[in-house]
Symmetry: none
Subunit: 413 residues, 2 copies
């Protein structure tokens, strides 16, 4: 089975948005052992789009198309694919109902334009979309398959993984089993050195590192017939990675750092409160993003000004004047202060210089202190972060979470 | 002049590395007003590569190729392009000398393989490479142009900007001028209806809508000779869009909603504090992400529990018990309470049900109240949001910012 990837959209062609879909699909095809030889991008133009689909069908068995399923007149992917495959369109009742429900939930009026999205090619396998308005579909006719998927990655990816790959997987006799190890604060090159022999010698499972902001995702993928066989193949490799990398590995199921923290806090039965200066609410926000956080998250204080640090957390103004708001001492007092005033068991704090202004030779942009009060003890970590304002704030947040994770793990034993 | 972009490399095709080159080249072509209708990616395979180059030359005047100029045997882009254009290769003395000097500077031995890179098609314009070993070249023959550039972006980009674009720019006399209108809470389909005649009739400038989370970016682009001419072409169209869409348009320079708010607050001389429940710090965090926010952002309170709402903001427990924490009344009391306790002029608040649990028939997931206290008056807006927990929290944050923006604009007059 030979596949081909076709990305549609003038905004992609013009470089206004990055096409991450082609790469995502390519990776998944490779994992399934499905060959593909061409990726193409074409704009929302009828003749060029039809021509490109025809060319693709001549040389490939499956054409995976993304984009051009929107409600506007220049979205023509479905119409073009149906024309090339010689299919009429029909109004799919379920797609229509789901769309109406979606609009009604949002208290928005559904326009005539939107209804266009509920039309699908006759004889297709509809791919209903729980993450957006546009359904996709699979047209399988005359031994050729066209798959139409929406362009937004958060809609395309689950549709591909949950509906499309199982469908085309019918013609493949291997399946894939993956584990995603997430590693915080280890560094991509350091990791490459630590795992060099494993990365060089990999066959089955494969080990693919993806650098992300401040962390590395390591996907360990086995080609196998069953999930049990997959687990047997990946397990010794994962154990060896964890042996070498230690507790920098915080998850092997792709769980986020805040989700791991949330799980550990819940298990501990402790309550948490956060006091933030430079992260400015990002730390609270990332914890509150976990459903059910109201059980253990009591409150957060974004004490950006010195007055707020004093008034809300009881941080002594004399200390701030003596050592400065960005200091080991103030981070400790903030962590203790929020725990005390909120009545929580854990107090987590950040104070630092996020930039671009406000840095000095002694206290440069990127200097951040993270404080953690837990079980009556306080610890502070000094960080030297780099990057723009957002990146410094983001990484400070992640370091605070990681500090909390390690403390809760120790606490656990 | 019609161009086409061709990215070469099996590692690109397989999704092992991201192709940022195609996007970069596309953006630059657009800026030069050079049309291009296709991007393709093909692996390092002789037949498929030659076939793809031939197809590209049939439909385009200039084919911009990146990748496949390396020293190994599977790097065949130059050889394939030369074969399709019917050119011999010659050893370019300058390329050879530069390569030898490079290796000697790096204290590395030049291998026989590397010499392969110094061979160029007879009659080409060599593109010497100051950032890597592989020179590129321009083959201009029989009214068709092939440009060969190395794959690494740090080598490709300067070569494109400094050598290739000035060369093909000989045949271009237009440039592009764009404005980015950002529109909050209007809806993509509603916008398409409101602007239908303008979208249908567009020629110069063009109007391209891009839906983003909760907002639409409308890019208005003029093809012109100078920026002044561009401004003259886009201005009446932008004015007409603003006349129809009204103050839903919050920016015409691609500025974010929080950046607009930050600018308006700074101008007003007022100080702000925020009290968040369901957004849980996201509102404070998005404002604090703007550099210089310490001038006007006093503090934030993430009062997630009812006790915190009472203790930190003075929200009457009796009111919470009577109407619930997610209510118009509590949103108002939170906004007033944070302004009073923080000593700020503006108090902004959110309270709602972010889900997935916690919803009831009366108060479903997605019900959010946003409160704003400003100039001694309080207003509350009820929202019915949809999507997952993150999306509800994100959109609640954006609505709070938009409410603040509108109030500050009125205040301005």
């Amino acid at each position: 089975m030979i596949a081909e990837i076709l990305s549609i959209g003038t905004e992609l062609l013009m470089g206004q948005i990055t096409d991450t879909n082609a790469q995502y699909i390519a990776t998944r095809l490779a994992q399934y052992g499905i060959n593909h030889y061409y990726n193409s991008t074409v704009g929302d133009n009828w003749d060029r789009l039809c021509g490109t689909i025809k060319t693709a069908l001549e040389r490939s068995d499956v054409v995976l198309m993304t984009g051009g399923l929107g409600p506007t007149d220049d979205d023509i992917s479905k119409e073009a694919a149906a024309a090339v495959m010689d299919c009429e369109l029909y109004l799919d009742e379920r797609a229509k109902t789901e769309m109406e429900q979606r609009f009604s939930r949002m208290n928005r009026k559904m326009t005539e334009n939107n209804l266009k999205q509920a039309y699908l090619p006759v004889g297709c396998v509809p791919l209903y979309n729980k993450n957006g308005t546009a359904p996709g579909c699979i047209i399988n006719k005359n031994d050729k398959i066209i798959v139409l998927m929406p362009g937004p990655p958060k809609e395309m990816r689950p549709m591909l993984d949950e509906q499309v790959l199982p469908y085309i997987g019918q013609w493949c006799d291997t399946t894939l089993f993956s584990k995603e190890l997430k590693i915080f604060n280890y560094g991509e090159s350091a990791l490459a050195s630590t795992l060099k022999d494993m990365l060089d010698g990999q066959t089955n499972p494969t080990i693919a590192p993806y650098a992300q902001m401040g962390e590395v995702l390591l996907r360990v993928t086995a080609s196998c017939r069953t999930a049990e066989e997959g687990e047997r193949i990946v397990r010794p490799v994962i154990d060896e990675i964890k042996r070498r990398v230690g507790d920098y590995v915080y998850s092997e199921d792709g769980e986020t750092l805040q989700a791991v923290c949330a799980r550990l806090i819940k298990q501990s039965g402790l309550k948490l409160a956060a006091a933030e200066s430079c992260t400015g609410g990002m730390l609270s926000s990332s914890l509150i993003d976990i459903a059910g956080s109201s059980e253990w998250f009591l409150e957060g204080a974004v004490t950006y000004s010195n007055e707020a640090k004093n008034k809300r957390l009881g941080v002594d103004m004399a200390v701030i004047e003596k050592v400065g708001a960005v200091s080991r001492e103030v981070a400790a007092l903030m962590a203790e202060g929020i725990a005390k005033t909120a009545g929580s068991d854990i107090g987590l704090s950040t104070t630092g210089i996020a930039g671009p202004g406000g840095g000095t030779a002694e206290k440069p942009v990127g200097l951040v202190y993270v404080g953690l009060y837990i079980n009556g003890k306080t610890q502070v970590k000094e960080l030297r972060l780099s990057g723009d304002r957002y990146r410094i704030r983001y990484n400070a947040t992640q370091h605070a979470l990681d500090m909390l994770r390690k403390a809760l793990m120790t606490d656990d034993k």
